[in-house]
């Protein structure tokens, strides 16, 4: 059971005219894991989702969902999963309860189970109070929650989430994360796409990095971050003439080369280098250098991509 494969993507390619949207991508998603597809806008994430959910046919390659082929067994495949798109597609005129009930029926539940599941999900997603209001009055966060609830009404064994938190405020985002984690505890396999490294890091057991339609790397979040080099020390000085003395202080303490860009100095911190940060700060202040910022940061998604794609494109 542990290592059974829920989604198997083999050598998938898709072209739109001359543009290669997905280029020979392969990966496996195990049952019960959260798998993150991480990449910038236009990387090919949505195209991949569309092919996995039978909305599009790949030009080459094969996708199996729970052992069923997405092309030759598309109808059976569609009963294995649910998908939540980038923008919540819900009937705005109807109420939350009506939407849930209708999708329950369309997923093959009988009337009683459809009603029962709707009530459960309204409670789970904190929508009981507005259950009978027209969805058009809902806030963005409520819409996303309802959207996710609708996707769950048929108890799918696999859930595709296409950028589930894009455009949400931090509080609602955290709510969504909790909801997704709860799902996985109940045995659902989740494949989610995101542009946010933080989100993939928080949620995903494994991440596939995608850029320009290619799979750049696939691993656990912690391993991927090691590839980029973990945390960084970022120092910005006020005056141009302070750059060189600051650079030499940092290089002396850490014994590493500092990356300089205008008045910004960046250096990767190794795991045991944290205790040296205060020493660097003391020395800089002792030299009367004026700082405009001094911080330790996780590498941003941009930096992950830059370091991953350098020399490849």
């Amino acid at each position: 059971m542990e290592n059974e494969v829920a989604i198997s993507v083999k050598n998938i390619s898709k072209k739109f005219g001359q543009h290669v949207a997905v280029n020979d991508i392969s990966f496996d998603v195990k049952k019960g894991e959260i798998f993150g597809l991480l990449g910038p806008n236009g990387a090919g994430k949505s195209t991949l989702i569309n092919m996995m959910t039978t909305l599009m046919q790949p030009d080459q390659g094969e996708i199996m969902i729970n052992g069923l082929n997405t092309i030759s067994q598309s109808r059976q495949v569609r009963s294995q999963f649910s998908v939540t798109g980038q923008s919540a597609t819900i009937d705005r005129e109807l109420s939350a309860r009506e939407n849930l009930f209708l999708f329950g029926r369309l997923n093959g539940l009988n009337r009683d189970s459809a009603h029962q599941r709707s009530e459960e999900l309204l409670v789970d997603f904190d929508l009981v109070q507005s259950a009978d209001h027209s969805v058009s009055t809902f806030s963005g966060g409520m819409l996303r929650r309802l959207d996710l609830a609708i996707s769950l009404i048929g108890n799918p064994s696999i859930l595709f989430l296409d950028e589930p938190t894009t455009g949400l405020d931090p509080r609602t985002r955290t709510q969504m994360w909790v909801a997704i984690q709860k799902l996985v505890k109940n045995g659902t396999t989740v494949l989610l796409t995101t542009q946010y490294l933080e989100e993939a890091d928080q949620l995903a057991d494994r991440i596939a990095l995608i850029d320009h339609g290619r799979l750049i790397a696939e691993d656990k979040p912690s391993e991927l971050k090691k590839l980029v080099g973990g945390l960084q020390l970022k120092v910005t000085v006020e005056q141009n003439e302070s750059v060189i003395p600051t650079q030499s202080i940092i290089e002396k303490v850490l014994g590493k080369t500092v990356n300089v860009e205008n008045r910004n100095l960046t250096v990767i911190l190794d795991n045991n280098a944290f205790n040296k940060v205060s020493e660097i700060l003391d020395k800089i202040l002792a030299s009367k250098i004026m700082l405009s910022s001094f911080k330790i940061d996780a590498p941003s998604l941009d930096e992950v991509f830059l370091s991953m794609t350098v020399g490849k494109n």
Binding site: G85, T89, D91, E93, L106, N155
Partner: protein, 257 residues
């Protein structure tokens, strides 16, 4: 984890029709097309023109009732194109496509929902006329026949609007286009006025209008209590419309999916 039965085409289609009716019910715009308009038109034309055209409201009603019936039903039929396009544009059809249901169920649900909306619209026009004093001179079975005839021709016409809805990408444009078509077709007919009051050149146009032919057929049934050749012709035209526009719509629908 999937423990439920695979839903049958029948039950999923009915669920889609249910959705379609709920959308009409919750949308004041659609609701007014189906319910308010037949009432307003019957009252407005009855009381405004009854005296001028027939001498009294009561004398005008037997003529008006069939006119408003067809007008309301065509009006309700014209809404299907816009509703379909709004659904496609909103992305909800894409979501339906990922469900374990047949690809034609959303379209079928729309058309069954349409038939029910037409029935509602027809019943309301007849009911309003009845409320202000119209008393049919034929039995209920013939009235049911008239209603079925009207719904059938309305339903076949809705396939034309479905095709427009599938081809034109802008929902508002479809809405105003449908309204103009229906306004011209129903007012350039014998729906609310006797044809003989029109200038000659207009009379010949009006006489060729299929809406006029349908209304004449219905009036004759309501008057004599018997089915007539015109009514059969109307059924045949309905079948021809369906034979042309159903395959075309399905073709476009399949291509888009």
């Amino acid at each position: 984890m999937k423990n439920q039965q695979k839903a049958s085409i029948m039950s999923t289609t009915l669920t889609m029709a249910h959705r379609n009716l709920l959308k009409t019910w919750h949308n004041p715009d659609n609701l007014s097309d189906v319910i308010i308009q037949p009432i307003i038109f019957t009252l407005l034309f009855g009381f405004l023109f009854g005296g001028v055209i027939a001498g009294s409201v009561h004398a005008y009603l037997p003529m008006l009732v069939s006119g408003i019936l067809i007008q309301s039903i065509l009006n309700a039929a014209a809404g299907s194109g816009q509703q379909l396009r709004e659904d496609i544009n909103s992305g909800i059809f894409d979501r339906f496509k990922t469900l374990p249901i047949s690809a034609f169920v959303p379209l079928a649900g729309q058309l069954i929902g349409d038939a029910l909306r037409l029935l509602l619209s027809g019943l309301i026009s007849l009911g309003t006329a009845f409320a202000i004093g119209w008393r049919p001179s034929v039995n209920l079975i013939m009235i049911a026949c008239v209603l079925i005839l009207a719904i059938f021709i309305g339903w076949s016409t809705s396939w034309i609007f479905v095709l427009i809805g599938l081809l034109v990408k802008n929902a508002e444009l479809i809405g105003s286009l449908s309204m103009i078509i229906i306004l011209v077709m129903t007012f350039l007919s014998n729906a609310v006025i006797p044809i003989r009051t029109l200038p000659l050149f207009l009379q010949s146009i009006v006489q060729l209008n299929p809406v006029t032919i349908t209304i004449s057929a219905i009036r004759a049934i309501m008057k004599t209590g018997y089915w007539n050749t015109e009514a059969t012709l109307v059924i045949i035209s309905g079948i021809i419309i369906i034979a042309i526009f159903m395959p075309l719509s399905l073709m476009v629908y399949r291509k888009n999916n």
